[in-house]
Structures are given as structure tokens and as C-alpha cells.
């Protein structure tokens, strides 16, 4: 048996979490450095995974397989395809920035009457989430996946409920110092519980479907069931397949989140600290869309096609509705949350368009959305921490006093609106063109998202960054070195992957080909013959 690279990649942050949590209370800074070190080491392993992965090779690579609960067919089976590699890389990439951005988010408050929030716990929980997310991307045993899909809710719950944003979202709360902490704590608690309940309900329904799948298939192996389904040796009654599909899809649609199951996200992202909000939307939610692509399509190809029209309509509603509601937000972080809902609509639309452009675009979209949202949200967090308010109306003229902050915020915003030249454009256009090829009307309506994204982004930028300098903003500091170190690499990536996305597309494309063959779909052919090649003049 060769070196278990995938296990080690997932286990390393978990070990880091335990060690970080064990650092004595007084050595807070040491704990932070330890967490950062482990996240960087995990990144190195993720790079190694990407290097060892051969795009043209077998569908699942670096596989590991051990008996686990032999009695009822649960195996410890890991393996990655190109989609998994890309998302593991994204996760491992973002965690160091999340840790660095949240460096002071869990420091003890000077006010002694506050409950002290253990710094060690904050960073340990982030690493714990990383470990569970990575193993979810690796698991090829349905039960194994389910366990970690559910278990990651627990550290997330404590991150949201225990380490809320110190900035407030209501004007009166910002003014009065006294009774507001309780109010904020109640809101935070509400957001954390809502997050937990929504995802638990989804998870329980999925669990029923997981068991149902076992009853039908007799094992939990994704590879075996997919192969049997594709070869036609495993028959499922139409209704059984549809019910099982819905059970899986519901859980993923809560996590992704898809309209109308999205309302937990704005609460959670609003109340959590900015780095945790990034963790939710850029990392954890991606497990939902990833699982649609891997489990829903592979296990239930016919039911997936059956449900496609309804899902596309829901995705389209998410795109337009999320963007419109984002325009109406007064809270910076809730605005970004609704923008993410719109973007998840694009991802889900791309997956269910069932074309290689749509699915490659959707996978690329998961990566690019992670980077762009991280850039925008983390800068927004830096901004909010300076003024102690999440309200858009409390800002104005920031670019005059903090030009670097404003400039990076603008670039994050431009990435969010998918400006050509930046990475998100590539994925958004692929999703649109992939959808249009099969469903022209839906593709055309989705382009409204292009205009609306510009609207909410530029309105946000205008109201916070331009205009006369507000009195409270006058003394605002520009970005510090630590903050520049967080944002600059993300911006470089956004430009680099916008100009040259090939390193990602070449590992994603073969995986998508397999997924398409799972559902027996081929790309639509061009309607007319073409008479010249690129680079030849037309006469």
C-alpha cells in the first residue's frame, strides 16, 4: 500500500486543531502561529495532491480503501477526481488567509464583564472544519461522506454562535454600548441555531435516503454503484430513484443554498465574523454543490434528468432574486451573502445544464467564487472592524482616507460582478454558454444577473467609498501589512486565473466528461458547418 496522501491531507488540520486547542490559555499568540503553520502545511499537501494527480489518468486517483464497519458494508474509501482536486486546493488555499484575517477576532475583550472567548478554540475550530471539508471532497463511500457532511455542522455552529462579529448592524445598537451586547448575542445565537436546524433537517432527510440507497444497492461504494448504474446492472424503480435523489438533493440544496432554502445564510454570514463568513460561503457551502455533481448525478442519473427543469427554474430564481434582494440590503455582510446566493444559482444552473461547458464552468465557478468572495468579504471585514458598524450608511468617502483599502475592495467587487479579465468571468460565461446551448430561454434570462451584479456591487462601492468623507471615517487607517498580505495574493490569483485558467480547466475537464457519461449526455452539436479555421481570413 502506497503512502496514504489523501488521509494525511485531511488528518493534518485535525491534528493541528487538537494541538492548537491544547496550547495553554496565556500563549494565545503561539496558538495562532501554530494554526497558521498547520494550515500552510496542509496547503503544501494539497499542492502535492494536485501535482500527483494525472488529468488523463483514471477517474479516481490516489485511492485508499480499508474495511471499516464491515458488518454493513461501510468502507473507508477515499479517492479524488479533478473536481475534488480543485476544491481541496481551494479549501487549503483559503484557510491560511482566513486564519490570518481573523488574527484578532478572538482576542479577549478589554471589557472584563464580557465572556472571554477562547482564542485557541477559534483557530482549532477553523482547522477542524478544514479537515472535515477536505475529507468530504475525498470520500467515495456514501456513508463516510455523510458522516463528515453532518459532523462539520458542529464546529461551524460554535464558530458562528460563539465568535460573532463585534460590529453591529443597527444604528441604535452602535450608539448605545450597554444593553446591546445581549441583543447582539441573541441575534448571533438565533443565526447559529438557524444554521444548525436548517442543515440538520437537510441532513436527516439525506440520512433516510442514504439508508434507502443501502437497501437498494447493498453497499455504500460510490464507484461500484455508479458503475453499476451506468452499465445498467443495478435497476432502481423509477419512484425509488426519484425519492432517493430528492433526499440527497434536499440536503445539498440547503447547504448550497438554493432558493427558497437560503434564508439561513444571510443571518449566519451577517452575525459571524468576516473570516468565518468566508469559511461558510467559500468553503463549507461548496460541499453542497460538489455533492450534487458527484453524488446526485452519479447515483441517480435518470432522476437527475427528471428533476432538471424544476432545478433550473429554482436556480434561475436564485440568480435573479438573490441579486435583487442584495440591492436592497443595508448591511454590508448581508449584501455579500445575497450576492453569494445569486452566485450559487449560477453554479447549480451550470451543473444541471448537463453540458461540458456548464459543468466545467460550474466547477470553476466554485473555485473562483471562493476566491472572489474571500477577497471582497475579508476587505469588508477590515473596513467594518475599523468603524464598528456593518451598516452601509455609516460609511462614505473612504477612498480618500484609505485608498489601498478602497482599491482592493473595488477589485473584489469587480470580481464579484464577473468583470472580463478576472477569474469569475471565465466560469460565469462558461455556465451561461453551457446553459444556453441546451436551454436558450433560461440562459438569456440568466444574463440579467450580469446587470444586477454590477448594480449591487457598484452601489455598495459608491455608498461606502466615494462622496464626501464622513466625520467618523476621517481618521480611518489604510490597510496594515497583515491585511495586505491577506488580500494581495487573492487579487493576484483572481487576475492570474482570469487570464490563464488552463491549469484548472485541464484537470476539471476530464472529470466532467465522466460525470456527463454517468448521465448519458453529450454536448449539443453546432447547427451549421464551419468553413475555416481560427486564424484564417474570411473572404
Amino acid at each position: 500500500m502506497s503512502f496514504p496522501l489523501l488521509t494525511v491531507t485531511a488528518a493534518l488540520p485535525a491534528v493541528g486543531a487538537v494541538l492548537t486547542a491544547a496550547v495553554p490559555a496565556a500563549r494565545r499568540t503561539a496558538a495562532k502561529w501554530l494554526a497558521l503553520l498547520f494550515s500552510l502545511a496542509t496547503l503544501a499537501l494539497a499542492v502535492l495532491v494536485a501535482v500527483r494527480f494525472e488529468p488523463g489518468g483514471a477517474r479516481y486517483q490516489l485511492t485508499e480503501s480499508r474495511a471499516w464497519i464491515a458488518d454493513f458494508g461501510v468502507r473507508y474509501e477515499l479517492g479524488v477526481d479533478g473536481i475534488g482536486v480543485a476544491l481541496i486546493a481551494l479549501t487549503a488555499l483559503l484557510i491560511p488567509f482566513i486564519i490570518l484575517a481573523g488574527w484578532h477576532d478572538a482576542d479577549p475583550l478589554e471589557n472584563k464583564s464580557q465572556r472571554w472567548r477562547p482564542t485557541q478554540g477559534f483557530f482549532a475550530l477553523i482547522l477542524m472544519v478544514e479537515a472535515m471539508v477536505i475529507i468530504s471532497f475525498e470520500a467515495t463511500d456514501v456513508f463516510l461522506f455523510y458522516i463528515f457532511f453532518e459532523a462539520m455542522l458542529i464546529p461551524m455552529y460554535f464558530l458562528i454562535g460563539g465568535f460573532g462579529d463585534r460590529a453591529t448592524s443597527s444604528r441604535s445598537a452602535a450608539a448605545a454600548a450597554g444593553g446591546t451586547d445581549e441583543n447582539a448575542a441573541a441575534q448571533r445565537s438565533y443565526a447559529a441555531v438557524k444554521f444548525l436546524l436548517y442543515n440538520l433537517v437537510g441532513g436527516l432527510i439525506m440520512l433516510a435516503a442514504v439508508i434507502g440507497l443501502y437497501v437498494v444497492a447493498g453497499n455504500f461504494s460510490l464507484q461500484e454503484i455508479t458503475a453499476a448504474r451506468a452499465a445498467g446492472t443495478l435497476d432502481m424503480a423509477t419512484n425509488t430513484e426519484r425519492l432517493l435523489f430528492l433526499g440527497f438533493f434536499f440536503a445539498f440544496a440547503v447547504k448550497a443554498p438554493l432558493w427558497p432554502l437560503h434564508t439561513w445564510l444571510p443571518n449566519a454570514m451577517g452575525e459571524a465574523t468576516a473570516p468565518v463568513a468566508v469559511l461558510i460561503t467559500a468553503v463549507v457551502d461548496k460541499v453542497g454543490t460538489f455533492a450534487m455533481l458527484r453524488f446526485c448525478l452519479g447515483l441517480f442519473p435518470d432522476a437527475s434528468k427528471w428533476a432538471t427543469p424544476a432545478i433550473l427554474v429554482l436556480a434561475l430564481i436564485s440568480i435573479v432574486y438573490g441579486a435583487l434582494v442584495a440591492v436592497g440590503q443595508r448591511d454590508i455582510k448581508r449584501l455579500v451573502a445575497y450576492a453569494s446566493i445569486s452566485h450559487f444559482g449560477f453554479i447549480i444552473m451550470g451543473i444541471f445544464a448537463m453540458t461540458s461547458q456548464g459543468q466545467s464552468g460550474a466547477t470553476l465557478y466554485m473555485v473562483n467564487h471562493g476566491i472572489s468572495t474571500a477577497a471582497l468579504m475579508l476587505v469588508a471585514g477590515f473596513l467594518i472592524s475599523r468603524r464598528g458598524s456593518r451598516l452601509i450608511a455609516d460609511y462614505g468617502g473612504v477612498q480618500k482616507v484609505a485608498p489601498v483599502l478602497a482599491g482592493t475592495f473595488l477589485i473584489g467587487g469587480l470580481a464579484t460582478l464577473s468583470l472580463p479579465g478576472l477569474a469569475p468571468f471565465v466560469s460565469e460565461f462558461l455556465v451561461l454558454v453551457g446553459t444556453f446551448a441546451r436551454y436558450p430561454v433560461i440562459g438569456i434570462i440568466a444574463t440579467i444577473g450580469i446587470v444586477l451584479a454590477a448594480l449591487y456591487t457598484l452601489v455598495l462601492y459608491q455608498r461606502t467609498m466615494t462622496g464626501p468623507v464622513k466625520e467618523e471615517v476621517r481618521t480611518m487607517q489604510d490597510l496594515r501589512l497583515r491585511e495586505v498580505l491577506v488580500v494581495a495574493p487573492l487579487i493576484v490569483l483572481l487576475i492570474g486565473l482570469g487570464v490563464y485558467p488552463k491549469p484548472l480547466t485541464q484537470i476539471i475537464n476530464p472529470a466532467v466528461e465522466h460525470t456527463l457519461s454517468d448521465v448519458h449526455e453529450k454536448d449539443p452539436k453546432p447547427q451549421v458547418a464551419v468553413e475555416a479555421k481560427n486564424g484564417e481570413a474570411a473572404k
Binding site: 432558493w259 468617502g397 462558461l430 454558454v433 459608491q462 466615494t466 485558467p501 464551419v530 481560427n534
Partner: protein
Amino acid sequence: MENLIGLLIAAPLLGAVVLLLGGRRLDKAGHWLGTLFAAASFGIGVVLFADLLGRGAEDRTLYEKLYTWIPVEGFQADVAFQLDQLSMTFVLLITGVGTLIHIYSIGYMEHDERRRRFFGYLNLFLAAMLLLVLADNYLLLYVGWEGVGLASYLLIGFWQHKPSAATAAKKAFLVNRVGDMGLSIAIMLLFTTFGTFAFGPVFASVGNATEGKLTAIALMLLLAACGKSAQVPLQSWLGDAMEGPTPVSALIHAATMVTAGVYLIVRSAAVFNGAPDAQLVVTIVGAVTLIFGAIVGCAKDDIKKALAGSTMSQIGYMILAAGLGPVGYVFAIMHLVTHGFFKAGLFLGAGSVMHGMNDEVDMRKYGALRKFMPVTFVTFGLGYLAIIGFPGLSGFFSKDMIIEAAFAKGGTQGWILGGVALLGAGITAFYMTRVMLLTFFGEKRWQPDAAGHEPHPHESPKSMTIPMVILAFGSVFAGAFFEIGERFLKWLEPVTGYEHGNSPVSAMTVTASTMVVLVVGVGIAWSMYGRRPVPVVAPRGSLLTRAARRDLLQDDFNHVVLVRGGEHLTRSLVYVDHSLVDGAVNGTAAAVGGASGRLRKLQNGYARSYAVSMFGGTAILIAATLLMRAV
């Protein structure tokens, strides 16, 4: 030679990167560096131009493929450039006029503490525009297209601390995004129809596609062109864009941005030729905008906004010509080039006037400036003569050709389009004469500004006047140079094709009619603003005048329908999201989970118990699974 094409774009792009990342160290040299990068690009353009001239007319297309950009199965997008006569014409205009505007800005922006950044944005603008005209496929063109949008956003909003500038910048970007929807859909249609969106294969295969497809593609391209070129109904951003520093207005209006739509249509000639219905729509859009812009130009007292109306109108001429097909493509581009000279000159002249008048823009507070700014007066005057089509000057040749081509469309359509183009020439003569008289003639009407400073009009520094002189030179001679021996026609014909239209009226008649409307237009303006003293406060005016001052109520319409309507929509959606969707899902969840009271209890802080119960639940379910297996 091919390798130079990438360098054309790389030079100003590098300039933008250096200037924007260079920090304060470069504050002293930034403007010189920026100008140098622009000039370098122009130099490379000239070398390539010389190379093209040395080749046979059929052999003047160069390709350079850098790399494969987005490869996903059938969808193959390259970063590849194509330089032919059409692109070359634009390259020289963009870099040539662009460099002059850089030089002018050295003086104009001298006292602005953010001058370095201004030059960075100018360089970015050039790079994006060059990418737009050099791309060999629609998707790469889209990158340049949006790059221009971004650069214009940054430049129009350059004085961001002014709320009006920030709003204008946002508006320009948003309106352009509506056009971008069109470009996106056009590319998607091209892909599903042809399986490619590269120029060569698409244009070679248009014959295989149905007319319906081509019409749909052409109309979507037109929507895109309307956004960038400020054509009705997406024209509303152009007037507000005057919030940017004046060199920006010159750049946007003359050499870049608004010409992009004309380029897109002429570049896609093969598609439009196969879609006569779409061509008719193009001519209608051009004709409507031509009159629309001219009327707005008549009513504005702000010198830059009057010129903005004029730009809209002149681009209308180009779009009209482009809609005429092979009869008009060459003249659309010829007018675009001559317009590039005289409109850039007029804007720089307007900037020079403002520079000497404490940034006053109200022409009613000018007057008699010819004595104080002789160079500005002469160069602006030559630009004026060129735009109204004074015989022998640039505008005379290019506009005359378009009017003639419009008549040649034939039938009732030809008479209507030709008549509108002719009428537009008369209105142009009127509003430009008005600008000229209000600014340079009559009594001086200056007043101290709000801070009590009396204006001391003076001529601008050399760095500003020299570009104006060069542009005036072009305004005078470019048209004749192009027309003698049909040089321009022969140069461009291999790319765009050319047919000589059969006009029901002779060329002589067209020219004579143009002269008549010109004299009438100038005469009316003279009788209104030359013979009588001009009131400093604008009279109330007729209904049309008042509507025209408000851009023919376009903004009022947008405000009521889009802004107000949109606000109501988003507000109600926020309410719906909070109360209905959230409530419904919560309610369902509570019902599924049991009593809603328990949910409330959980929300009150007993949630951690739920986490525990989840594990309990999982354990029970695993046990159940085991049991099931046993059975």
C-alpha cells in the same frame, strides 16, 4: 512583424501597472512615463502600418496567437490577435489621438495631486481599447470591451469625492452592462450556431446559417453597440459622463469608447449583410440618435454637454452609415476618423477655455474669449468648421458621403434616411455656431465665482495648445487627404467590401442641399445669438427647449420607471424574503420537527442539546441499519 501586435497592447498595459502600483515614488515622473508608454504604442503602430502598406492589398492581415485561453471541449477561446486594415485604422487613431490627449493632460492635470493615477487609468483605457480592436474573436473582444467600461468608470468618477461624478461613473457602467447582455447573448448564439466565435470561421460560414439566426445575432450585437456608442435607447450615460476631467471626455468621445460600437458593427459586416431586417433597425437607431443628440446639443448651456450631444449625433451618422451595408461601411469609418480629429480638438479646446475660466462650464458666462485665447479660438474654430461640414474641411467629405449613401438606400426608406441625415447637418450647423458665438464672440459676460474670484481668461500652456494645433491640422486636411484618389476607400475596401449605391439624387444635388441647410443653420444661430446680446440667465424657452435641456426627459423616464420601480421591487422583495420565505420555511421546519414551541425553546439557547441529540439520532439510525441488515 506579427510579434509586434501584442506589444501594441502590452506597452500601455505595462504603463498602467507601473503607474498604479508604483506608489508615490513615481508621482514626479508618472505623467511623463504614461505619455511615453502611449507614444511607444503609437510608434509600434506606425511601424506596423508601414509594413502593411508594403504588402499587396489582399495580403494585409497579420495574426498572432499567444495561447489557448479557455478550452472546454467544443468551446475554444484563444488569446489571439488579428491586424487588418480596419484594426490598423483604429490603432492609429487610438494611439495617435490618445498620445496627444496624454500630452495635453500633463498641463491640464498639473495641479491634481492624483495625476499619476490619472495617467495610469488613461494607459489602461488605451490598452483596453487596443485589445478590443485587435482581438481575433468575440470573447477576447469582450474583454477589451469591458476593460474600456472599467477604465471609463474609473476616469468618469476620477473626482470621486464629488457625488455627481461617482453617480455618473456608476451610471455609465450600468448602462453599458445592459449592452453587455447583448454581447453575451450574441456570443452564445454564435457558439451554438457555428461552434466558434472567432472572426475568420464565423464570417466564412455565415452563408450556412439561416437569416433568422443571423438577424438575432445582429440585433444582439446592435444592443451591445448601443451601450458603448451611446445610441438610443442606451444613450443616457453620455451626458453625465462629462463629470470626468475634460481630457477624459476627449478620449471617450473621439478616439475610444463611443467608436467601439461602430467598430463592432463594421467588423461584423458579414453577419449584418446576411440580416437585412437587422440592418434596417441599425439605420433607424442611427437616424433617431442623430436627431436626438442634435436637439439636445441645441439646448445645453454647459459647453461640454453641448459637445456631448454633438458626439451622440455624429456617432448616429456613423451607425446610420454602418446600417446601410457595403454602401456605407467605409464612410462610417472615414467619418469616425475625421470626427476623431475634430471632436478631440473641440473637447480639448473646451478644456482650454475652462482652464482659463476657473472651470466655468456655462457658456452664458463666457463671451468675447477670442481676444484672450487666440490659439484656442483658432483651433476650436477650425474644428467647428470641420464638424459643420464647411467645404474642403474634413467633416465636409465624410458627412457628405454618408448623406449620399443614405439616399442611395433607395425607395421611401432612402428618402427618409437621407432627409434625416440632411436635417441633422442643418441642426449641427445651428448648435455648433451657437457654441462658437456664445463662447468666443459677443460681449464678455463673466462673473466672479462663488468664492469671489474674478476669472482672468488666459491662453493655456504649450503642452495643451500643441496637441490642439495638431488636431486642428487633422480637422482641416484629413478629409481631403482621404478623398483624393479615393485613398481611404481603396485602403479599407478589402476588409469591409464596397458597393457604389445608386442614389436617386446626384452627388451634386446632395452637396448643394447640404450647403443650403448649413447656411440656414448658421443663419438662424447668428440671428439668435450673434445679433442680440445673450442673457446670462437662460430664458424659460419653449416646451421642446425645456425638454431638450433635460436630455429630452430620458433621465426622468429612467428615474420613474427603472430607479423608482426598481427600488419598490427590491424593497418588497427584501420584505418578502424576510417575512414570507423565511417564515414559511421556518414554519415548515417547525411543523416537521414537531411543536413550534420546541423550536422557540431551542432558539432561546438550548441548541447545544440539539447537537447532542443529533449524534443520538445518528446512533439510533446506525443501529436501525444494523437491524435491517439482520432482517
